[in-house]
Symmetry: C2
Amino acid sequence: MRKEIKKNTALELNPNVSVDCVIFGFDFDKLNVLVINRDYANGVQRALPGNLIYDDEHLDQAANRVLEELTGLQHIYLEQIGAFGDPQRISKESDRSWLQSIRAQPDARVITIAYFSFVKMEDYQPQASSFAKSAEWIPINDIKELAFDHYEILQAAKSRLKQMIKIRPIGFNLLPEKFTLSQLHKLYESILDKPLDKRNFRRKIQKLNIVMSLKEKQRGVPHKPSQLFMFDKDQYLRLMQNGFDNFGF
Amino acid sequence: MRKEIKKNTALELNPNVSVDCVIFGFDFDKLNVLVINRDYANGVQRALPGNLIYDDEHLDQAANRVLEELTGLQHIYLEQIGAFGDPQRISKESDRSWLQSIRAQPDARVITIAYFSFVKMEDYQPQASSFAKSAEWIPINDIKELAFDHYEILQAAKSRLKQMIKIRPIGFNLLPEKFTLSQLHKLYESILDKPLDKRNFRRKIQKLNIVMSLKEKQRGVPHKPSQLFMFDKDQYLRLMQNGFDNFGF
DNA sequence: GCTCTATGTGTCATTTTAACACTTTCAAAT
DNA sequence: ATTTGAAAGTGTTAAAATGACACATAGAGC
């Protein structure tokens, strides 16, 4: 018998449904993703933060709870990517042996609902706990494999991010309050994974009026100091409401 | 005790995960959606075709199977919309009483994975079976309520369709092999839910080279007969491969 | 042959895009 | 004090895309 009898208590995990989170961060040079490391027989393996949901829990809440339990990150707006449900998605040998050490029903079919978000890296210092041995930011392009089907989920998240940047001014979430246009430019290049003409980029961004130039400049840099900017929240909200559908580079 | 002991046989339904399908059709005038009718104590209620998945089944396969079982539609490319997982999503009284008549574990938490697709209405005459009393095309704008959270799912599907039409030439799937530009025009207006300038629409479509004009005209219409067109499959595939991201009306 | 109805067609002003190179400002090193 | 290195900042032009707009045409039914 593989499944246990399941009582209807509020705090019971649902053995068939999990959530996984892809959290993007930007270090002014490249995109990073938040991963946890877990011990297993033959070493350490990376995975996205994720776990089973409780039976009476909203999916979105579950994603937030799990993310916090494993990495300490709180109060993050997570957006659903979709469900991943290959019946074999958790049956690699390294995954199975690990599941046996942490799950009451390690052989249950599990479908997972993936979520993603993007944050200012500086604001969130990951703090591992629960079954995560550690939690850290890893450059996206350095990731060659992950547990379960998490690599596939990561690719889906990247492609959603790429789409999303064309219809929403995402920089808001990934950059600190004050930033330079070069940093924003680099962010767009990192996400779209292609070079963008500097002058055309600046023209296009400025026409949207979502950035306001401050009276302040960078200091201590060994080159011409850059103007600092902030996002204009009102203008941002106005754009979003009018269903803004062209931010295409 | 709400859940039964669950054995690990291949043909067992997973009590926690279902799929639901939103199938759009176009009758040359407006968008329709395929719904099933089910009997319950106080009458008839409409629902999207959907049901539990088997424990060893891919989600996509489950969606295809369920759609066929309930409506007879086969061989349809279904695209995932996402997961819907409100813990209360199946607890309206009318839904519960109906579930008790068809489910082994009517009180289990069920999350559903929604799929959508669009077909040529003429090619698919719905044939109800299983617990569907009937299956039929209903104009989208006539639908005011559906079972469970299906109305919400329908809205999500509509909004995905609206997005998708901006990045893919969807007419391929919704129109018969030979069609007129006016029909295509009307289709775009129905999906986008706003009028589009006739001349600008025609110019834009023709520039893409995805439609080929035939040597054939409409016959028997009480007005100037329209030129017939077909889609150019090669050009379509070429466009799709190059990641075609602007079809914006 | 008259009427009704949907088809089909072109222009122009405005906006958007893509391509492209040099000067400026600061810190650090000499 | 001068030089050097490194990134910031800035404008023009040609080509393409967009949006607004009105009237002649072809067939069916009477």
